[in-house]
């Protein structure tokens, strides 16, 4: 499981970084095209929006894997033992439920419903935009299962230490 986690981290980091850098390039190109070449680029805006949705959904999955999403830890910082473990499991469970229902189930519906629509300017099916939801959902679920395993192992280890 841990090797899957590390491999996913690596692939996600690489693809997101490449996408991010190319977006910077395309956006700068748009400014140059508008001013220097005097030919406003119409495709670049659509391309950037499309990439932004994908970048966001992948970044959301990546952050979930790192457990870096912001939360109010005023109370949970004081929790220990069983309660702490329970809360940690609950969070992972909520992420899994949310991904399964909204991102994967809802995302697949949205994708298949809009495959016949065309995303403006790019001339690709609009479904490809919604495809980012189930992809991100699957990644989040794998990450969360992995996090659960880590929580379980840690809990088990600390308990044996206490004994």
């Amino acid at each position: 499981m841990l090797t899957i986690h590390a491999a996913m981290d690596k692939i996600l980091k690489l693809s997101c970084c490449l996408l991010f850098i190319s977006m910077v390039g395309v956006a700068s190109w748009q400014v140059i095209a508008r001013y220097v070449l005097n030919t406003p680029s119409t495709i670049s805006e659509a391309l950037l929006r499309f990439s932004l949705v994908w970048l966001s959904m992948l970044a959301i999955a990546y952050v979930t894997g790192q457990r870096e999403h912001v939360s109010l830890t005023l109370l949970t910082d004081k929790l220990t033992g069983k309660w702490r473990i329970g809360c940690d499991f609950l969070m992972e469970f909520l992420f899994i439920a949310f991904s399964a229902v909204v991102l994967i189930y809802g995302g697949i519906q949205a994708t298949s419903n809009s495959m016949s629509q065309i995303y403006p300017m790019l001339n690709i099916p609009k479904g490809l935009l919604y495809l980012s939801l189930p992809v991100s959902g699957v990644l989040i679920i794998v990450y969360c299962l992995n996090n659960c395993l880590i929580i379980y192992k840690n809990a088990f280890l600390t308990r044996s230490h206490a004994l």
């Binding site: 910077v24 956006a27 400014v31 970048l55 990546y62 952050v63 999403h69 912001v70 809802g106 919604y130």
Partner: protein, 432 residues
């Protein structure tokens, strides 16, 4: 109107929030629960998925990851000391010069890096120990550092205003930036006033100490990084480029500056900066997508109109309505981060302030200013805790020295809330 749906929305949200569930999930799950009541499950799920994607499918939103990336690059690029030296040129002879240097450094660094925490860590990390060596009391230096840290979230470029522009349905980012510049500077000057008074009464003075570097060198070191602010504000205001294009230009500019000119960023630090920017982007985008689902859920419950009739029912005097909203925002800011607070409460509060005739640009600036205060107050002000950590002081010991700063900041808040011309004159002057 569905009252039970509203109760479910609020109860689920607060319940999950309190047990430490990530805010994005709190928003998403409570919204789903609400939408399920009103719509058949299949349609509810489909609509939520669609709302999430369409909130991300926005050209304006591009400015967020780009400004984050340029901020992180600048932060990794070691500009803190350069800015500190530069600020000393101006504050060298004023009583309490080191505190003034810290405050000015925070204003400049915060603006460039877009992060209050980064500012108070980098600038305060240099200035607080230095001030102690010169005989300043440590709680006072730490308080000056903490109090001035949020200025960078008001001085452009800042993602807070971009999020507000999106949540409010298309307020001009350029106008918000221009007004935020005024508000942020007022905040900073207020802190400097407090530092001046304290330093004068305690007899803190310092001579200029530029650490063996000539004035010219200090200026040429710092100006290129400050030029970023000029490019962005100037470019947007003169209409050379839009806010989104400005954000892309600022990434290119910071890359050139830190890789070629300062030579502080190499391939591996560049990678680290990209990943850091990616993480921050992921956090913000999740909040944004989830709050799109929430505003749909809200419209089902009719909560916004209920709240607005409660607040407007209290009084028809705009002064009092505005005061109620200010107190509410201060309380929200005490417990919530700026990003989620803007995304959740803008759609609720904006119709109310529109009704009492407030300019949306003005309200945006007041709202961000308000929420910024929460970052440096107990119980969950990150700025306060990080600043205390930097100074190696207990938070309790800092509250008394922070008090005069809080008073001046609150006074500034009331000033910009009730006199809209203060923040609106600059955007108006620029014809925004």
């Amino acid at each position: 109107m569905m009252l039970d749906a509203g109760i479910i929305l609020i109860a689920t949200f607060l319940g999950l929030l309190i047990i430490g569930v990530p805010i994005g999930i709190c928003i998403a799950v409570s919204s789903m629960a609400t939408i399920f009541i009103a719509l058949p499950p299949d349609i509810a799920i489909f609509t939520t998925a669609q709302k999430m994607v369409s909130s991300l499918d926005s050209f304006t939103l591009l400015a967020v990851p780009f400004f984050i990336l340029s901020g992180v690059l600048m932060n990794h690029g070691g500009i803190a000391l350069r800015l500190v030296n530069f600020a000393k040129l101006f504050s060298g002879r004023i009583p309490g010069s080191l505190a003034h240097t810290n405050i000015m450094g925070n204003m400049m660094f915060g603006a460039i890096s877009g992060s209050a925490i980064a500012a108070s860590t980098s600038i305060g990390g240099v200035m607080v120990p230095m001030s102690e060596k010169e005989g300043y009391s440590r709680p006072f230096s730490a308080a000056a550092n903490i109090a001035s840290a949020p200025t960078g979230m008001l001085i452009p470029p800042t993602t807070a205003f971009i999020l507000y522009a999106l949540a409010s349905g298309g307020t001009s980012i350029s106008a918000l930036f221009a007004g935020g510049l005024v508000a942020g500077c007022l905040w900073g000057f207020g802190c400097m006033l407090v530092a001046y008074m304290t330093a004068k009464s305690r007899g803190y003075t310092t001579k200029i100490d530029l650490r063996n570097s000539s004035v010219w060198k200090v200026i040429t070191d710092a100006l290129p990084s400050l030029f970023l602010i000029v490019i962005i504000i100037g470019g947007i205001v003169l209409g050379v480029f839009t806010a989104v294009e400005a954000s892309a230009i600022s990434v290119i500019y910071t890359m050139l500056l830190t890789i070629c000119f300062y030579r502080t960023i190499n391939f591996s630090t560049f990678q680290a900066a990209l990943i850091k920017a990616l993480e921050t982007t992921g956090v913000i985008m999740f909040l944004l997508a989830a709050s799109a689902a929430m505003s749909f859920a809200m419209s089902i419950t009719g909560l916004p109109s209920a709240l607005s009739s409660i607040i407007l029912g209290l009084s028809d005097n705009p002064v009092i309505v505005l005061l109620v909203i200010t107190v509410m925002l201060l309380a929200i800011g005490c417990f919530m981060d700026i990003g989620p607070a803007i995304l959740i409460f803008t759609p609720i509060l904006l119709p109310i302030t529109n009704q009492i005739g407030l300019d949306p640009v003005h309200f945006g600036i007041v709202m961000v200013f308000n929420l910024c205060i929460g970052t440096i107050t107990p119980p969950v002000g990150t700025g306060l805790f990080v600043g205390a950590g930097i100074a190696k002081e207990k938070v309790e010991n800092l509250l008394l020295p922070l008090l005069p700063f809080y008073i001046v900041i609150m006074f500034t808040l009331l000033l910009i809330t009730y006199i809209p011309q203060i923040t609106l004159f600059l955007p108006r002057l620029m014809g925004l």
